[in-house]
């Protein structure tokens, strides 16, 4: 598989008691899969996404923001091949994604859609295990790798102790962790998530994004996330993509593109952007029409 590049690291053991130096081999998974959109037009009856060229940055947090109806979810769905483009194409590893076998694609790219439905009576572990579907066949049902991948995904999403609970009994945040564990168990280079934090408490939102950031930065996965919450997006994005009326308005690091003019233009929101000196993150503060000063 060309997606896995084993890197042998020779570590000299500094322990003086042990004379022979130990050799350690670490199989580190590095994301090499590329996802690109070429002149993409997508829509239902009329185009919603109107000609987009986009290169997803490998191994980074790619976050899509934009006002309601700007086409960010539609773009994500097309990247995930849920929607077929009207024109243009999505390229996964430089090949048209729609001409590749569905199961092959699912080994490289996973999708967590908005508001997924958990079938009644499914336990957490059973749900996470569904993520192994693309790695299985009728003759190869449940392997040791499958078991290991599920255990690891549950550990990463911190839901190991919930393994036997029913999905229906969990809180919104826990449930979302289970879905994220499911796509992690799929062990793909690329993970697409459509508004994974909507309706969740701020604390839970932050926890989830910390988890996703760890996946990108420590495990070299490529994440593409549609987000609603601007400040969260700015805080966690390595690559921020701002969409307006079906087109990409601006993209780059948060430092480059997350500013008052762009926010005003993309969201029609009158706001100022300040930098928190301690964490060096950008924060957008909407300007009230009748501010404090006037009332004073």
């Amino acid at each position: 598989m060309k997606n896995f590049v084993p890197i042998a690291l020779k570590l000299t053991n500094l322990d003086t008691n042990n004379k022979t130096p130990k050799r350690m081999t670490i199989n580190k998974k590095i994301s090499h899969s590329t996802l690109t959109a070429k002149n993409l037009v997508v829509g239902y009856t009329t185009p919603v996404v109107k000609g987009i060229d986009l290169e997803i940055q490998p191994g980074k947090m790619n976050i899509l923001i934009g006002s309601n109806g700007c086409g960010k979810s539609t773009l994500l769905k097309c990247l995930a091949r849920v929607l077929i483009p009207i024109s243009g194409e999505v390229l996964l590893n430089d090949q048209n994604i729609h001409s590749q076998p569905a199961k092959q694609v699912a080994k490289i790219m996973a999708l967590l859609p908005q508001g997924p439905i958990a079938p009644e009576g499914l336990s957490v572990k059973e749900l996470v295990a569904q993520g192994r579907y693309p790695h299985q066949s009728f003759l190869k049902q449940w392997s040791i790798e499958d078991e290991a991948a599920v255990m690891q995904a549950m550990q990463q999403a911190n839901i190991t102790e919930l393994a036997d609970s029913a999905i229906a009994e969990l809180s919104g945040g826990q449930r979302q962790r289970c879905w994220i564990a499911m796509v992690l168990a799929q062990q793909t280079d690329i993970i697409l998530l459509d508004e994974p934090t909507t309706y969740l408490d701020l604390k839970v939102q932050v926890d989830l994004l910390e988890l996703l950031t760890e996946m990108a930065h420590q495990h070299q996965r490529t994440l593409v996330i549609v987000l609603h919450e601007l400040n969260i997006a700015a805080a966690y994005a390595d690559h921020l993509i701002m969409m307006k009326e079906g087109k990409i308005y601006a993209q780059g690091t948060a430092q480059d593109v997350f500013n008052a003019e762009n926010i005003a233009s993309v969201f029609g929101l009158n706001a100022k952007v300040i930098t928190d000196l301690e964490s060096n993150t950008l924060i957008c503060i909407p300007i009230k029409k009748r501010g404090h000063k006037e009332s004073l």
């Binding site: 569905a102 092959q104 694609v105 999708l111 439905i117 499914l122 579907y133 693309p134 449940w142």
Partner: protein
């Protein structure tokens, strides 16, 4: 997962045991009660001159085999239907196949002179197939294409329409209905082993298809976007699953007429036992459907002997209270 597999396998063996018990009961009771040892003898040391052996091998065993096949087919078709449409109230009759099959049989016996009963199963299956393709085409022509909603709605419309045609016919031509009465409520009385022989290949294809496709039904039951993300070609897979449903239901209708309720209730009972994973739901549905119809048919033959009640009626009379009990236990 290992523990679950072990539990699941134990359950399957238990169900097989239950099936054997139900089969023995089915073979033994009737106008003449035949002992277990005689039943066994009729298998191992068959004697043509022994009247009991004849009853078992020529009458009761074929009927039991048909009950097993029909029960399994309908339960699996119902389970697949509920998974694909993500609607717990779906069953094979929702594709209009039951009333469609019935309508075809009624028209055929009215308009074809010298209509021979031998062709009845073929006509029923063809009628069911035509109905399914009509419903399918209506659904495919809607705005969103074949979705759970468009299938259910066009199926409901078609079922109502063909039901009305059936009722008109009933009013105008009582003669035919008198002859078809038992068949129309679903019965194993008139079924014969010949029909089973040419249904078996289809049933095998349908059931194997269901078992092979089962993992993707679980994925589909979590929504089409999740299923796409997991690498399932939605359009092709739904088409394959609907083909399985149509094959299994047509075979069941050919064998036993429009037998309702099994396809609706059995999958729910199975889900109650094994949860929501279709890898288990399908094999359990095969076994439980078979056990259920065998037991129901035993009851149908035993309750008012020497006469018998149409199996289709007992299925519902027993099924409805079972269903209500399930709703009471499950839905809180």
């Amino acid at each position: 997962m290992k523990r679950q597999q072990w539990l699941g396998a134990t359950g399957i063996s238990l169900m097989c045991l239950l099936l054997i018990v139900a089969l023995v009961i089915h073979l033994s009771i009737g106008t003449k009660v035949i002992s277990i040892s005689d039943i066994l003898h009729s298998f191992y040391t068959y004697n043509e001159d022994n009247f009991d052996h004849l009853i078992i091998q020529e009458l009761r065993l074929p009927r039991a085999m048909i009950a097993i096949c029909v029960g399994a087919c309908l339960a699996v078709a119902g389970a697949l239907m509920q998974g694909v449409t993500r609607n717990p109230l779906s069953d094979p009759s929702l594709l209009g196949m039951m009333t469609g099959g019935a309508l075809a049989v009624v028209y055929w016996s009215t308009f074809v002179t010298n209509a021979s009963l031998i062709w009845l199963p073929v006509v029923a299956a063809v009628g069911a197939l035509i109905s399914a393709s009509i419903v399918w085409n209506i659904a495919a022509r809607t705005h969103g294409g074949i979705t759970p909603l468009s299938l259910i709605l066009s199926g409901a419309a078609f079922t109502a329409f063909s039901g009305a045609l059936l009722a008109i016919h009933h009013l105008l031509d009582e003669q035919t209905f008198e002859e078809m009465r038992t068949w129309l409520v679903g019965s194993l009385l008139a079924s014969n082993i010949e029909t089973l022989y040419w249904c078996i290949p289809w049933i095998v294809v349908g059931l194997i298809g269901a078992i092979v496709l089962a993992p993707s039904v679980t994925a589909l039951s979590m929504g089409e976007e999740i299923a796409t993300g997991l690498g399932i070609n939605i359009r092709r897979r739904k088409w394959q699953l609907l083909m399985c449903i149509v094959i299994l239901t047509s075979a069941a209708i050919a064998l036993a007429g429009p037998l309702g309720f099994i396809g609706l209730v059995i999958p729910h009972v199975v889900r109650f036992i094994v949860g929501a994973d279709y890898r288990w739901i399908i094999p359990y549905s095969i076994l439980l459907g078979a056990v259920y119809l065998l037991s129901i048919d035993s009851l149908a033959r035993w309750l008012i002997q020497p006469q018998e009640i149409a199996t289709g009626l007992i299925t519902i009379l027993m099924g409805a209270p079972l269903f209500i009990w399930l709703v009471k236990v499950k839905v809180r």
